[in-house]
């Protein structure tokens, strides 16, 4: 009897123990029954949100649909993309020009969508180049990178590209402090404290055309600026930057930049800085940086090298910058939708400090300072602090908001997302991520009006999350439904490169503005060919310009002779189609660059230098039509000094002489 009872107890216990564990502890642990229907978007149906995800070390930006996780497009930004001819066509090469010359790669960390009145407006999305400091603007009517501006006096453009609430400025803070470009940089590295400075760039954005220009830079003490966000609403006019390495170490930062108990969040009164600039207090300083713009009218980019930049040295003014102590190497610096609460996330901390904008203002008015850091007043921690979220997890990184009074913070070390209430700082829910989450994204989650509904966690470690693919794995993202009290995981999807920050906006804000074709009548490319009858081949010295057209299903001309060794051949291919989603491609054997992919009404140019005598085939690379495989041609290359005349033809009915025979 006794044994029986024991056994029954064991059975019961087993059942209890097994109940939770019967949800396998790995993949599907947090998934409940209706997850599939919540992320299911039926074939032919559209997603609710566009999601713009940084591509990290791919240098690109990807666009996903939410909640399906469908990859809609990879937008080439800072890295060449042979698939789209980005950085390979003559038209796009200038986009990747810098003061260092042509740079074919970068590391895109953060995306930020333009806002009007603090609300996402769906016009542009900005991205930052982390390695060779630049900011790019992508036009959301074409999903193309239309502008890239380089940042002088900067290195490791990490605290970027965050915007003010009317997109007055895109702000870019340097991660690495460095000697200014204009100074003699040949100094001992251990003279960091004397010679290294941290620059914050304020890039103005044209209200209507989006055109960027560096309005001014603020020269600040040498530290590492990590992340930032603009004030909004009541705090509009201020910007908040997390800083680490306030030890001003120049080596083994892993140890040496983690010495202090607190680093800082730097509050910057940019309206005040604007006033000083207007009053002529800034200095024009020599600098060299590229400003590249792409025109949909000419289908071409131009690169301009700028030669000076306006700099305001914050050391001379005590009412622009203030330091707010923030525990343990702060990373994320996020401002809630009301603009009152500033959340600092110390990546080595086990608490989240929340600062109050009102208290910061009062502290400044009352001079509640605790000494200075390199000439900048340090506000007393308690004087700025609204409160701390206690024991939220380990290693807070980034915080997003749902507009309903809740904040969501990612924890890298404890690999979880924690939902907490901004007012009472109480933890409301926590969910694990797979694994080691970095950034978070709630649609509109850093604006005055978040759209809420979903949260995406961008994880740094994938391990066993998907079918394995050798040593290198795609990074994973997890989608959560946050419409209820508890966060619910509903989807996993792999991403491009390494996603850092991402943004999302309702589809309707963007979908209705899409360009379908470029009007051929409005094509202002210098080498456009607006009809087959105008197609031709023109020799200018050793340069051969082919004015070529593409339309279903042939190129005109498709036979070219009289090209000689030593020539540079430029294929200027105009896609004559005026029909949505009918691009043509162009490739020629042996070309040491890439293909062209030419949209309807567009002209693109491939430069080709023949390497040997012979016949070289060319063809359309995009399956444009039933006769796509017929869309081809030949070029004959003759020896230098050959007397084969320049000739071109298409079939037997187009102008140009009949092909020569040997």
């Amino acid at each position: 009897m006794k044994t029986k009872l024991h056994l029954a107890m064991i059975a019961g216990l087993l059942a209890i123990v097994l109940l939770p564990s019967c949800k396998p502890k790995d993949t599907s642990s947090a998934v409940t029954g209706d997850a599939a229907s919540k992320s299911y978007v039926a074939p032919g149906k559209y997603d609710e949100f566009y999601n713009f995800v940084s591509g990290g070390f791919s240098g690109q930006m990807s666009c996903y649909g939410l909640p399906s996780g469908r990859l809609l497009r990879v937008i080439p930004v800072f890295a060449v993309d042979p698939e789209k001819g980005w950085g390979y066509s003559e038209e796009t090469k200038p986009m990747l020009n810098t003061s260092h010359g042509f740079v074919p790669w970068d590391d895109l960390h953060h995306t930020e969508m333009s806002q009007t009145n603090g609300e996402v407006d769906g016009r542009w999305v900005f991205g930052n180049a982390n390695n060779t400091p630049r900011v790019a603007r992508i036009d959301l009517t074409t999903f193309r990178t239309v502008e890239i501006i380089e940042l002088p006096n900067s290195a490791g453009n990490h605290s970027s590209p965050f915007i003010t609430e009317n997109t007055e400025y895109v702000i870019a803070g340097t991660r690495f402090s460095v000697p200014s470009d204009n100074a003699d940089g040949d100094v001992a590295i251990n003279t960091y404290k004397q010679n290294f400075k941290g620059y914050l760039s304020f890039i103005s954005v044209g209200k209507d055309d989006g055109k960027m220009d560096i309005a001014f830079q603020l020269a600040c003490p040498g530290v590492n600026f990590d992340l930032s966000h603009a004030g909004k609403g009541k705090s509009h006019g201020w910007f908040f930057f997390s800083c680490y390495n306030t030890e001003q170490a120049n080596s083994l930062l892993e140890v040496n930049a983690s010495q202090r108990d607190k680093d800082f969040i730097m509050a910057v009164n940019w309206k005040k800085a604007e006033e000083y600039i207007k009053a002529g207090k800034g200095k024009k300083v020599p600098a060299k940086y590229a400003h590249n713009t792409y025109s949909d009218a000419t289908h071409s980019a131009t690169s301009e090298m700028k030669t000076d930049v306006m700099v305001l040295d914050t050391k001379e003014f005590t009412d622009i910058c203030y330091m707010i102590p923030c525990p343990k190497s702060p990373h994320g610096c996020d401002v809630d939708p009301t603009g009152e609460y500033i959340v600092g996330s110390g990546k080595l901390a086990a608490l989240i400090p929340v600062f109050s904008f009102d208290k910061v203002q009062a502290a400044i008015a009352n001079k509640a300072f605790d000494g200075q850091f390199d000439g900048i007043n340090v506000i007393k921690y308690e004087a700025a602090l609204y409160g701390e979220v206690k024991k939220p997890g380990l290693g807070p990184l980034h915080t997003e908001f749902d507009g309903k009074g809740n904040a969501y913070t990612s924890f890298f070390v404890s690999s979880e997302v924690v939902k907490w209430n901004i007012k009472d700082l109480k933890v409301l829910d926590r969910v694990p991520t797979f694994y080691s989450v970095g950034h978070l994204c709630v649609p509109g989650g850093d604006s005055k009006k978040p759209f809420g509904k979903y949260l995406i966690a961008y994880n740094k470690i994938t391990k066993d999350r998907f079918l394995p693919t050798g040593p290198e794995l795609s990074q994973s993202a997890q989608l959560f439904d946050i419409s209820g009290e508890k966060m619910q995981m509903i989807l996993d999807f792999p991403t491009i490169g390494e996603p850092h920050y991402a943004q999302a906006a309702p589809a309707d804000l963007i979908r209705k503005n899409q360009v379908k074709i470029f009007k051929i009548d409005e094509n202002k490319h210098a080498y456009v060919t607006k009809g087959e009858k105008e197609s031709k081949v023109v020799r200018e010295g050793n340069k051969v310009h082919v004015y070529m057209t593409a339309i279903r299903s042939h190129f005109s001309p498709d036979n070219i002779e009289g090209v000689k060794m030593g020539d540079e051949v430029y294929f200027h291919v105009t896609n004559l189609e005026q029909d949505w989603d009918v691009p043509h491609g162009f490739a020629i054997k042996g070309a040491i660059n890439a293909e062209l992919l030419i949209m309807p009404g567009e002209t693109a140019t491939l430069k080709w230098i023949p390497e040997k005598v012979g016949i070289f085939p060319m063809y359309c690379t995009d399956f444009c039509s039933a006769l796509h495989q017929e869309m081809q041609g030949y070029i004959r290359v003759s020896p230098a000094g050959s007397n084969v005349p320049l000739m071109f033809s298409l079939g037997n009915t187009i102008d140009g002489k009949a092909p020569a025979t040997k």
Partner: protein, 188 residues
């Protein structure tokens, strides 16, 4: 001992029940949701008022081709002609159809004659773009129904199987040659 065994057995049952409950918990899309999807529309249904008009849209916009458009719809042929193509379409006018024996068109658009009608329409379509200047006298074109039509070029007049091309209209996905007669294939 017997009791013990039965206890173990009941534990196994209990376990398998639990496991079963687990697998039932796995999310599956609601089949109902898929069933309730509306019938898919082909490429002719793409809403696009920016692009150049394709062959179907050009035909729909022509008051002289209402019979042809009705026939294309009856034969479920509009999606094909809204495809990337490219196509050369010989498009008989309403007057051309009117020349057929009385009742012919009315008969062809009946559901049971769909295959016959489709065959006739396909006889008016060639894959590829043939502009008027590319036609030569005696040229044979392969049509979509696997038969050939014969082109005539005489005194500046171009004919196809004897029907005259009275106008040519470029479209996004090919070209339409308007003809004054209906082309009748050998096959049914």
């Amino acid at each position: 001992m017997k009791k013990l065994t039965s206890l173990f057995a009941s534990m196994v049952v209990c376990l398998s029940l639990l496991l079963g409950a687990c697998s039932e918990e796995k999310a599956t899309p609601d089949p109902q949701a898929e069933v309730s999807q509306p019938a898919p529309v082909g490429q002719s249904g793409v809403s696009d008022d920016v692009s150049q008009k394709d062959i179907v849209k050009v035909a729909v916009g022509s008051k002289d081709h209402t019979t042809l458009v009705a026939a294309l719809k009856a034969a479920d042929y509009v999606d094909v002609l809204a495809n990337a193509g490219p196509f050369t379409v010989f498009a008989p006018t309403n007057a051309a159809f009117a020349k057929l024996p009385a009742g012919t068109v009315e008969d062809l658009v009946k559901p049971e004659k769909k295959e016959t009608l489709r065959n006739i329409l396909e006889y008016h379509v060639s894959v590829g773009v043939y502009k008027t200047e590319q036609f030569t006298d005696g040229q044979m074109l392969d049509q979509a129904n696997s038969e050939k039509v014969k082109i005539g070029v005489k005194d500046g007049k171009i004919t196809v199987n004897g029907a005259t091309i009275i106008a040519s209209v470029p479209a996004a996905n090919g070209i339409i040659h308007v003809i004054d007669g209906v082309l009748l294939p050998q096959t049914k």
